[in-house]
Every structure is written in structure tokens, then in C-alpha cells.
Amino acid sequence: MTGFLYPFLEAEERDQESLLRDLAASARAKAAESAALREATLAANAELVETAAAEMARRFTAGGRLFTFGNGGSSTDAATLAGLFAHPPLGAPLPAWSLAADQAILTALGNDVGFELVFARQLIARGDARDVAVAMSTSGSSKDLTAAFREARKRGMYTVGFAGYDGGEFAASPDVDVCFVVRSQSVHRIQEAQALLGYAVWEKVQEGIA
């Protein structure tokens, strides 16, 4: 009714409605892309999931423990994965920790020996030949993660890498036993698929220790 007097108000109203419609459509398109990528990634990595889970289950049964790590958002995804192993809503709790959880240790190592060694040094202190190291990364090439895998390999640990793009250094590294690669160019879609892969590994480990 007021459009006659204030046409610009209605124009803004329409703009908002059309922006909201565009946003919703974009959300659905991205979610569909994420779902397709996750499905394709699970299918492509089904055998690797079995391999990694079988060895992890064997190690947990033999008293081994899990250490997870990553940088930024991936460090939180690694922490969620450690939390799933340690405090599963269903299933048996297994010893697992995120190596990014303690700010005193992170900042002490970062300050004294350099950020590249924040995870490797913790594996020197805590890791042994029965244990498992899991790193989550989108590039697969972060220096602190490759340094940690080098240390883990030295100590006889089982090493599992999650990467995106073409797998980065993880994919070609002799320090990485199993490398899951999410073949996407989007950091967000890579992380979403990695979360589901990690969950799939956990589920298989639970079957393996039963």
C-alpha cells in the first residue's frame, strides 16, 4: 500500500527476499555437493578404511593409544575424532588424545623449539611402537604434521594421514602408512568429507575390537 509513496522501501524488501532465496538455494547446492563428495570419498576409500581400522584395532587391543593432531579447523576435527574414540556415545572408550589440547605444552614447544615441532616433540615424550598417530590436514603438507609423522615413523607408530586436493606430501611420504585423500579443491568440503571418513574408521575399529 505504501509502495505508491515509498517505492524504494518495497524495492529493498524484494532485494532482501531475493537474497534470502539465493542464499537458501546456494546452501542446498553446497550441501548436495558435500554429500556427493562424501559418498564418493567413502566409496573410493572403503578398502583403506578397512586396512587402517584393522591395524588400529589390533594396536588398541595390544595396549596401543591414539594421538590426533592438525592445524586450525583441522585441529578441531582431529580433536572431535579423538573425542569420538575416547568418549563414544555408543561403544567402547579407547585411549585417544588431541595433541593440540594443552596450551602450556603447545606454547612452550612453539616458543622454545619452533612451531614445526609442536607435535613431533609430544610424540617423542609420549608415543611408543604400539601407538597410532593420525593427522588431519587439507593440504597434506603442513611442516608440523610431516615432522610429527617422521618422528612417529621413527618410533614404530602406525601413521594415518587425512589430506585433500591431490594428497600433498602425505600421499607420497614413506612416513605415512595410510593416506586418505579427499579429492576436492574446497577446504570446507574436504573437512566435511574427512570427518565422515574418520567416523567410518572409528566405526570399523569398534567392530574390530569387539
Binding site: 529493498e12 524488501e13 532485494d15 532482501q16 537474497l19 534470502l20 532465496r21 539465493d22 542464499l23 537458501a24 538455494a25 546456494s26 546452501a27 542446498r28 553446497k30 550441501a31 548436495a32 558435500s34 554429500a35 562424501r38 559418498e39 586450525g72 579447523g73 578441531t76 576435527d77 580433536a79 572431535t80 575424532l81 573425542g83 569420538l84 563414544p88 556415545p89 555408543l90 588431541s98 587439507t138 577446504v187 570446507h188 573437512q191 566435511e192 568429507a193 574427512q194 570427518a195 565422515l196 574418520g198 567416523y199 572409528w202 566405526e203
Partner: protein
């Protein structure tokens, strides 16, 4: 574990939440993130906004709040105009309490979760996955939702003309007006509205506009932390905190 489906309603809720979040950021809001049972989700949301993965996107103030006594931590942190985002089940006691109190702190609320849905009006924006599997929080479903929230919020920044807060944004099923207990009660004689306040001391309450004097004779006794519905300087009823 199936991958979550983003239906029409959820995508519309995400769109509305994103536009509101973009508007509040533009007006100077800080985003406070809590996730008591899955703290890394709160940290993931915060790092997403503070240090975007896409080079050139604006860094925005977002903080994960963790540790014990979350209600007190959020109360101390939030300022009027801020946003509180929770990633939690509908029955998480600290989150229920924070969500109920947030209007008294002047904060807009956003609740991401799965399983049984919070009651209507429990938060300003509810982004919910219906799958009741308790393992869902570890499958990437929530990660997808807050990634999309971040992506859409930044799309909104490309429409500066729509960032002014004048036009209300409706969501499909939620909104603080949906719950009678949260509805600003309007006085039938003077049409002044009831506002939520949190008792901070004798005769003093915190509301969305600051600390103010309030007569509590109708609702006494009150103790700090009690929630009151305040009308024209008078507390007319206590509001139950879950």
C-alpha cells in the same frame, strides 16, 4: 550413518541466520561459541570466522568459550548486540540456561544441533538435523552447517545495502515470538512491552539495554541470576530457567 539432507526449511533457516549474523557483525557484534559436549565444534566455528580459509575474506570477532560454569562465562562475555552460538543437544542444561537468559543480555541466539528439537522459540535461530543418532556430532554434519553459515554470512557482506538492521528477518519455524513464555508481554492499558531482565542485586536487573532499577515487590524474594519479566520498571513475573 547417512549424510544429512538440507531441506527447504533448514536452508531457509540458514539463510535467515546468515543475514542476521552478517548484520550484527556489521554493527560490531562478537560471536561467542559454546559446545559443552563437543568443545572442538565451538573452536572450529571461532577459527572459521577469525581466520577465514579463503584469502581476502574479512576476519571477524568470534571466540570459543569452554571450561566449567559456561553460563557465568557467557554472562561475563556477552554485550548487548552480540551473538551466542551453541552446538549442543536440546537438553544440554548449560546451553538451555544460556539460551533462555540471552535476551536479558541483549544477545541474539543461534542453536545448532541434532536429535529432538528444542522447543519453539528456544533460540532466535535453530539449525537442526533431525537424525537422532547420538554419534552424528562426529560425522561432519555440524561442520557442514557451520561452514555454510560462514559461507552465506560472507555472501551477505557483498550486499551492503541489506546489512542495515531495519528490516526484520523471519525464519521458518523459530523466533523468540513463538514461545509464549518468551513473548514480550504487552500491557493492555499502555501497550508498553515486557522485557526480560536478570537480577544482579537488590532492586537491580540486567536487561538488553543495560543495568536498571526494578521494583520486585510483586515477585520477591529474588536472588541474583533470577530472570524477570519487567514492565514499566516493575517485575511482573519470574521466568523459569531450565
Amino acid at each position: 550413518m547417512s549424510t544429512p539432507v538440507l531441506d527447504q526449511d533448514l536452508s531457509s533457516d540458514l539463510a535467515a541466520a546468515s543475514l542476521v549474523l552478517a548484520r550484527l557483525f556489521s554493527a560490531g557484534a562478537t560471536l561467542w561459541c559454546i559446545a559443552p559436549a563437543w568443545e572442538p565444534h565451538a573452536q572450529h566455528v571461532a577459527v572459521e570466522f577469525v581466520h577465514p580459509v579463503i584469502v581476502g575474506k574479512k576476519a571477524l570477532p568470534a571466540v570459543a568459550l569452554t571450561g566449567p560454569d559456561l553460563v557465568a562465562t557467557v554472562r561475563m562475555s556477552a554485550r548487548p548486540g552480540d551473538v551466542v552460538l551453541a552446538v549442543a543437544a536440546a537438553d544440554q542444561p548449560d546451553v538451555c540456561s544460556v539460551m533462555r537468559r540471552a535476551p536479558a543480555w541483549g544477545a541474539t541466539t543461534l542453536w545448532i544441533g541434532s536429535g529432538p528439537r528444542p522447543g519453539a522459540g528456544a533460540a532466535d535461530h535453530v539449525l537442526w538435523l533431525g537424525d537422532p543418532d547420538p554419534r552424528l556430532p562426529a560425522t561432519g554434519g555440524f561442520v557442514l552447517l557451520y561452514h555454510l553459515l560462514w559461507e552465506l554470512t560472507h555472501v551477505c557482506f557483498e550486499h551492503p545495502g541489506l546489512l542495515a538492521p531495519e528490516t526484520p528477518v523471519a525464519c521458518t519455524t523459530e523466533g523468540s515470538l513463538a514461545d509464549p513464555s518468551m513473548e514480550p508481554a504487552v500491557c493492555i492499558t499502555c501497550s508498553d512491552e515486557g522485557r526480560l531482565g536478570e537480577v544482579v542485586g537488590p532492586g537491580r536487573a540486567r536487561t538488553a539495554t543495560g543495568i536498571e532499577d526494578v521494583a520486585t515487590v510483586l515477585v520477591d524474594p529474588v536472588v541474583p541470576g533470577d530472570l524477570l519479566l519487567i514492565h514499566a520498571g516493575m517485575a511482573i513475573t519470574k521466568v523459569e530457567v531450565p
